[in-house]
């Protein structure tokens, strides 16, 4: 029922039925105004549940929003804002909210108590995964995901400030005003749609004016300050190291992100997070219509909605009275005020019962009546809404995120933050156990003044007058009586469950939590925690401080993974590195494969080719018989200069580079300090103190980091500088018997075998552009790599391919490149995979003993010199089965193919069109001495067994004459 006539209403739907609401108000308010008491079914027993709170702590009113791929489950109706056309669905009920078949769980509830799963579904073990878990998951649950890709957008953002103020109630507003006026750079974050905290929800005066008016004035002032940023709808969800905080912002806007996940770095933080009202565990205290007293005041005072026609109030503190008076003032009938305390003076034009308890409630789908025990007797009262208040829990959560433990305060029967639990954070106001408005205003201002002062500012404190009631409470946790006394509404945990946990010796609060699941639901026990541990304390005969709390961990409210991972979906997952020839390559329908972050062509299909092998074989033929062109720009290129450039290379390579002549290229092998191979590549000497190193594509970043490590950590005595030039140069391999013929069509000056012999390098003019030429070969053919500044890359690639085609060749991709190198026994990271040594790959003689280098000492460890280690060999099929597979294992011919008999494994395979056979590279125990032996290759995964003969890994042109020709 609405208490005020709204100016503008829109229509949304709840379970398909239209409901009117004011744009921006919580869906919960609109449902209450609509008279919709039943909004959800509980997690385990499918009990009918209604709206309980008016904030993010809501335990019952979890709903699903939207449909299809955009479905969002477990949204709290108390913070979901009404908008035109919004589709809201109840969850955890079938076929309907009112007639939920799974409510049968409630009838067998005595069997479903705490620990039920652990005790019942013990065996047979195999049933757990197939039967028990799926059934339980379906029966007990929250909303479901759509299973489709979420098309909604999310965002993440980074924020920085001097002072982060968490919560904009009276303390937070005063803190912001004080710090803001002092000139501090302030972020004020509040999870509500509007700032003001309880001042928006209570009837009281501040500074001689209505609280809401005072809030508006302060907000106007703050909004006008350039140094203050106001973030509404923003929940600070976690406190992390070095002043980093996470915050989730619900974004308002069209076609934009739904939520933004902030990382806010603050020099100081003032926690003004307020307090949460806690329930009382009386029998059947969770029927729809029973809600928190503060929530009732929120709906009446802020949203103009009466949650009932005849409201009863049950509390153990003065807020119960405040609720009654607010209702009367709003014109809502108060059916009774029940105060558990004996010694209170209460006035009001409604029945008042002091020293009384609610001992029973009635009404299946909505509250109809309650029974009050009073003065030795009981009395039934008809009511459709019961407001309860068990007192207030300071919102200490953030102070516990770095292992802080809150301290018990007897006078307010609550936990308060332990100072300095989070470096740089101070608590003020209700979250610090300071409950009156006047005290909150004052503490917010004082704390902000101290914090701002600590930052070198000169704040001044002025505090407005406000009400300063004393908070009087007599703890009341549970009321005895027939029926379940619910504590954790969201996880269906009641008093008996906790007593059972204690009885079964789960006496530690952390054990009780796991055993009963209390506090494990999306709300993480915000409302239930203190009641639960009070009951546990009672059951175990300990005090509450000794019992302690469970650990509050981030996030304070549920954070969608989509928000945390915002920007990392799809293209955001990793940068795409595209070569200068990318566009041309894709235009030729070449399938691209990833190499690190790079995209490279697998092959260039020609009309009529239906299988990649046809394209690959043709491209191999280009290189072996004519000329092929391949973009090799992705290989790491590192420019090395300085007086000690050669010394640096001698130190990072196993072999020697200081002897390399200017204008020459040498193959280099790089070791890790533990003696295993890190990477390989060629390095060219362009000048006395100038080299260009190439690395493999995948290891470019690793090698760059390693070189900086050597220069800064291991050998700061070396005067050399390294700089990546990978991106500067577009580089293309031109390989094949006609390579020189092709190059001579594009080079400004013709080259010959005499002035550009094998392993020569130097500057050249390429179609009028200053470039570099390296005579190196990864195919075993007469080959070059030609480089030009990247801006000319696409143009040169087009030119080279056109010329190659005229010579009977063309572009080749990664598949052909791989075949060409396997035919030659050249290694890649398939072979130097991190566990192989120079000896394993037959390059042990490259490890110079005349100088120190990274990895040299460790490479001489006895275990790495064992002749029985797995060594690089070639394989060829000799039996009926011709197929070889990478990853297959090797065994002696008649040995059983089990791990104990393993002799090695296959690393690379291909079909060689040149040799008309399948080829494999493999590591085989003592392999170099076993050339000629036949072993069996077994691929257990694909079920392939082949007989293979072991041979030298260089299958083609073993004397290397073709590359030198």
């Amino acid at each position: 029922m609405r208490l005020r006539t709204p100016e503008h209403m829109v229509t949304f739907t709840f379970d398909g039925k239209p409901v009117q609401g004011i744009p921006g108000e919580p869906v919960a308010a609109a449902l209450l105004a609509h008279g919709q008491k039943l909004v959800a079914r509980s997690f385990k027993y499918h009990r009918p549940r209604g709206i309980m709170s008016a904030g993010s702590e809501e335990q019952n009113a979890l709903v699903t929003v939207g449909r299809g791929a955009q479905t969002e489950p477990n949204v709290r109706a108390t913070i979901l804002e009404v908008s035109e056309g919004l589709e809201v669905f109840s969850q955890n009920a079938w076929p309907s909210l009112k007639y939920d078949m799974m409510a049968v769980n409630d009838l067998i509830a005595p069997f479903l108590g705490a620990g039920f799963y652990y005790k019942t579904f013990m065996w047979p073990k195999a049933f757990w995964e197939k039967l028990y878990e799926p059934v339980i998951r379906r029966a007990a649950g929250l909303g479901g995901l759509s299973g489709q890709t979420n098309p909604d957008q999310y965002e993440k953002a980074f924020g920085f400030c001097d002072i982060l103020i968490v919560g904009a109630g009276p303390a937070g507003l005063m803190a912001a005003r004080t710090a803001g006026r002092a000139g501090a750079d302030v972020v004020l974050a509040d999870e509500d749609t509007a700032m003001g905290g309880r001042l928006l929800r209570e009837v009281e005066e501040v500074d001689g004016t209505a609280g809401t008016e005072w809030v508006a004035t302060v907000l106007d002032e703050l909004a006008a300050m350039d140094n203050v940023r106001l973030m509404t709808r923003t929940t600070v969800t976690g406190a992390y190291d070095q002043g980093t905080y996470a915050a989730l912002e619900r974004v308002v806007g069209k076609d934009g992100p739904l939520e933004c996940f902030w990382r806010i770095v603050a020099k100081r933080t003032i926690l003004c997070a307020g307090a949460l009202e806690r329930p009382i565990a009386f029998p059947n205290n969770e029927r729809p219509g029973i809600m928190m007293a503060s929530a009732v005041r929120s709906y009446v005072n802020r949203w103009g909605v009466a949650p009932g026609k005849a409201v009863t109030i049950f509390g153990n503190n003065d807020d119960a009275h405040r609720t009654a008076h607010d209702l009367v003032a709003a014109g809502v009938k108060v059916a009774a005020l029940i105060d558990s305390r004996d010694d209170v003076e209460a006035t009001g034009d409604f029945p008042i019962y002091t020293g009384a308890r609610v001992v029973a409630t009635k009404g299946r789908h909505a509250l109809e009546a309650i029974t009050v025990s009073h003065d030795g007797g009981t009395r039934d009262i008809r009511t459709d809404c019961l407001a309860m208040s068990g007192g207030w829990n300071p919102t200490v959560h953030l102070t516990c995120h770095m292992n802080g433990r809150p301290a018990w305060r007897e006078d307010i029967a609550s936990f308060v933050p332990t100072p300095d639990s989070i470096p740089g954070m101070v608590a003020a106001g209700a979250c610090n156990g300071t409950f009156s408005t006047a005290a909150c205003l004052n503490e917010g201002a004082q704390v902000a003044a101290e914090v701002a002062g600590g930052l070198g500012l000169e704040p001044r404190v002025t505090v407005p007058a406000a009400e300063d009631r004393t908070y009087r409470i007599m703890p009341l946790w549970a009321v005895p009586g027939k029926g379940r006394k619910w504590i954790d509404f969201q996880n269906d945990v009641h008093v008996k469950d906790i007593k059972l946990a204690a009885q079964e010796n789960f006496r530690s609060v952390e054990h009780m939590k796991r055993y009963t699941t209390q506090g494990m639901a999306p709300d993480q026990g915000k409302s239930s925690n203190v009641v639960a541990l009070a009951v546990l304390a009672d059951a175990t005969g300990r005090g509450i401080p000794e019992t302690g709390t469970t650990t509050f961990r981030p996030p304070y409210v549920p954070v969608p993974i989509a928000a945390m991972g915002a920007g990392s979906q799809g293209k955001g997952f990793a940068p795409e590195r595209l070569t200068t020839s990318h566009k041309v390559t894709v235009a030729q329908a070449a399938p691209m494969i990833e190499a690190g972050l790079w995209y490279r062509p697998s092959y260039f299909p020609k009309p009529g080719e239906t299988h990649w092998r046809q394209s690959c074989d043709r491209e191999v033929g280009f290189v072996r018989n004519a000329v092929g062109v391949c973009d090799v720009s992705t290989l790491g290129k590192i420019d090395i200069q300085g007086p000690d450039a050669a010394a640096l290379l001698d130190f990072v390579y196993a072999n020697t580079f200081s002897t390399l002549k200017r204008g020459k290229v040498r193959y280099g092998l790089m070791l890790r300090e533990d003696g295993h191979v890190m990477d390989d590549g060629t390095t060219a000497r362009l000048g006395d103190q100038h080299f260009v190193m190439t690395t493999t594509t995948a290891a470019a970043g690793l090698v760059m980091r390693h070189l900086e490590f050597v220069l800064q950590v291991l050998r700061p005595d070396l005067d050399a500088r390294v700089m990546s030039v990978t991106e500067q140069w577009a580089q293309f391999a031109v390989a094949g018997p006609k390579a020189r013929a092709l190059l001579n069509t594009v080079l400004d000056r013709e080259i010959t075998n005499d002035d550009w012999p094998f392993m020569a390098c130097g500057p050249v003019g390429v179609a009028g552009v200053a470039g570099r030429l390296f005579r190196i070969s990864f195919s075993g053919e007469h080959a070059y790599e030609v480089a030009v500044p990247a801006r000319f890359g696409e143009s040169l690639f087009r030119l080279l391919v056109t010329q190659a085609e005229m010579l009977g060749g063309g572009a080749y991709g990664m598949e052909a490149l791989n075949v060409l190198r396997i035919e030659k026994g050249f290694i890649t990271h398939a072979e130097i995979h991190g566990r192989t040594t120079a000896l394993d790959i037959g390059m042990d003689r490259m490890v110079s003993l005349k100088k120190d280098c990274v990895g040299q000492a460790a490479s001489r460890r006895p275990g790495l010199l064992d002749e029985d280690r797995e060594q690089l060999v070639g394989l060829k099929p000799v039996g009926a089965v011709k197929q070889l597979t990478a990853g297959a294992h090797l065994f002696e011919q008649r040995a059983e193919a089990v791990r104990a008999n393993g002799q090695g494994y296959v690393t690379s395979v291909c079909y060689s069109p040149t040799l008309q056979t399948n080829l494999g590279l493999a590591f085989l125990k003592g392999g170099r001495a076993r050339h000629g032996e036949v072993v069996q290759m077994v691929d257990h995964l694909r079920g392939i067994t082949a007989q293979v003969t072991v041979c030298d890994p260089v299958f083609f042109d073993p004397d290397g004459g073709r590359a030198r020709g």
């Binding site: 992390y240 190291d241 070095q242 990382r263 490590f709 220069l711 800064q712 950590v713 040299q856 000492a857």
Partner: protein
């Protein structure tokens, strides 16, 4: 977590590559006994408390840093350039 780079100032942990214990600064001589190399390469303490390790400001200025921090409190005491560290 945030580290203060001597070049760039305070930065988010995501910009840094973690290497490991600062023992890397004290590389044994090439002819050191195998045990010395074994310690250098493999043997690490796992302190609950203060520790000194190497980080690389890879997505920043490219400096290798020696960082003093506490594994229990997560406090970061400071960072210096590795090239200027005592060996």
């Amino acid at each position: 977590m945030r580290l203060t780079c001597p070049n760039c100032g305070e930065r988010d942990r995501r910009e840094f590559y973690y290497y490991g214990d600062a023992i890397a600064l004290r590389r044994p001589a090439p002819d050191a006994v195998p045990e010395a190399w074994d310690d250098y390469l493999h043997n690490r303490k796992n302190p609950a408390g203060d520790t000194t390790d190497l980080w690389f400001h890879e997505a920043g200025c490219g400096a290798w840093l020696v960082v003093d921090r506490n594994t229990v409190t997560h406090a970061v005491h400071g960072a210096t350039l590795a090239e200027k560290a005592k060996r």
